[in-house]
């Protein structure tokens, strides 16, 4: 399967206000804080020789992965689609019609409004934080939003035979210092954002998690869907950014 798009996000452990609402004794009002609030670094746990535990994407790509203007209370976002270079999802013509319908109906049709789990990669760039659980032989991510979690399984075994999971089935391996996760079996009810960007059951994601600093993970998702997306991959620089 050829990757058709690349989404890249930076997850910073400096923005963990929401998570601290459950983890810290002195954060009675943390639930009301915006996710972008900066917490003291000392409050952040970090595993030796592992990923930081508490992370959040500080952007607002959850509104529209293709970017959106700012408005009161909402910072603008550039497109997080770094390939194709125009930042647009390369929909097939018929699929683009559905995307436009989704957009028009987004105030009622977005599955997250019904508290469905956010799916992959959407869960990663939500306004709410996530926590990485890591121990020898185990890797999982817990997302605050809708208490979704994903257990990452070694890729020595094939994907689970399912097609309708909100958080998909994840198989991973390490490539040097990068965790590479292959995600399949995601339901076609899931959206990529609040703007109605969508996919079919043929959706396939390859995620890459790599630490670029003591408190930062660079997140990259290659997303492919031969049913909905018109173009096979055209990665600007051999599928990495």
């Amino acid at each position: 399967v050829t990757p058709s798009r690349v989404v890249r996000r930076v997850l910073s452990s400096a923005a963990i206000a929401g998570l601290l609402a459950t983890a810290a004794p002195d954060s009675d009002r943390a639930e009301q804080q915006p996710a972008g609030a900066v917490c003291p670094q000392t409050a952040v746990g970090r595993q030796d020789a592992g990923f930081p535990r508490h992370l959040a994407d500080r952007g607002t790509a959850y509104v529209n992965v293709e970017g959106h203007p700012g408005e009161k209370g909402l910072a603008a976002s550039r497109s997080i689609v770094v390939d194709p270079p125009d930042g647009k999802i390369p929909y097939r013509r018929d699929a683009l019609t559905r995307r436009q319908t989704n957009y028009r109906n987004r105030s009622t049709a977005d599955p997250s409004l019904k508290c469905y789990q956010a799916s992959v990669p959407r869960a990663t760039y939500l306004a709410t934080p996530l926590q990485i659980l890591q121990s020898p032989g185990n890797f999982a991510i817990v997302y605050q939003e809708n208490h979704a979690f994903r257990v990452f399984h070694p890729d020595t075994r094939p994907h689970f035979d399912a097609t309708d999971w909100w958080m998909g089935d994840t198989r991973y391996r390490w490539e040097g210092d990068t965790l590479v996760a292959d995600v399949a079996a995601i339901t076609d009810q899931a959206w990529l954002d609040q703007a109605g960007n969508f996919h079919s059951t043929e959706f396939h994601v390859v995620e890459r998690y790599r630490m670029t600093g003591p408190d930062v993970i660079e997140y990259e998702a290659r997303i492919d869907d031969p049913v909905v997306y018109a173009r096979p991959g055209r990665c600007a620089r051999p599928c990495t950014v």
């Binding site: 004794p25 002195d26 121990s135 999982a140 958080m167």
Partner: protein, 159 residues
């Protein structure tokens, strides 16, 4: 708590992931997550939740968890045994052998019970090849309509 762990064997498993600062319980049922800090931190103030707030510590080979801050809306079972927001649970997890955890819980609630309740049951390791599956029941979803009358569901309309 402790209802989440009282699942029939093999029906809805739980995965434990622990590091030096947290023990996390990932329940398949309701995709319920309990993240238990083991850093001697106290319970938060003005915070109430379905799962309450858990703080753990190791007492020799026993993992002891103090659970407080419940929202008071939970039942202990399908029979309607209940607690309110004064519920307090002291859990003890101990390995009996490599595949068995003995689970003990002391449940107190001074506004509901006249004395503490002691619970005890074992948790068995599931085969390695099994994995947690996705559980899609959501908050507020009406799972009750699938229950039979004797399990607490509504009486079906006579046809």
């Amino acid at each position: 708590v402790p209802r989440a762990l009282e699942q029939p064997a093999g029906l809805y498993p739980v995965q434990i992931i622990q590091d030096e600062k947290y023990v996390a319980l990932l329940h398949e049922a309701m995709h319920d997550v309990r993240i238990i800090p083991t850093d001697n931190s106290p319970h938060p103030k003005n915070y109430w939740a379905w799962d309450g707030d858990s703080r753990g510590r190791w007492d020799g080979d026993t993992f002891v968890v103090d659970v407080s801050n419940f929202n008071g809306r939970t039942w202990l079972d399908m029979a309607g045994n209940f607690v309110d927001e004064n519920e307090h649970v002291l859990e003890r997890f101990r390995l009996l052998d490599r595949d068995t955890i003995l689970y003990e819980a002391t449940v107190t609630d001074p506004t509901v019970f006249v004395k503490p309740i002691e619970m005890r049951f074992t948790l068995k390791r599931v085969p390695q090849e099994q994995q947690i599956l996705e559980y899609s029941c959501l908050e507020g979803e009406r799972s009750l309509q699938h229950y039979t009358d004797e399990d607490g569901g509504k009486k079906r309309r006579a046809k």
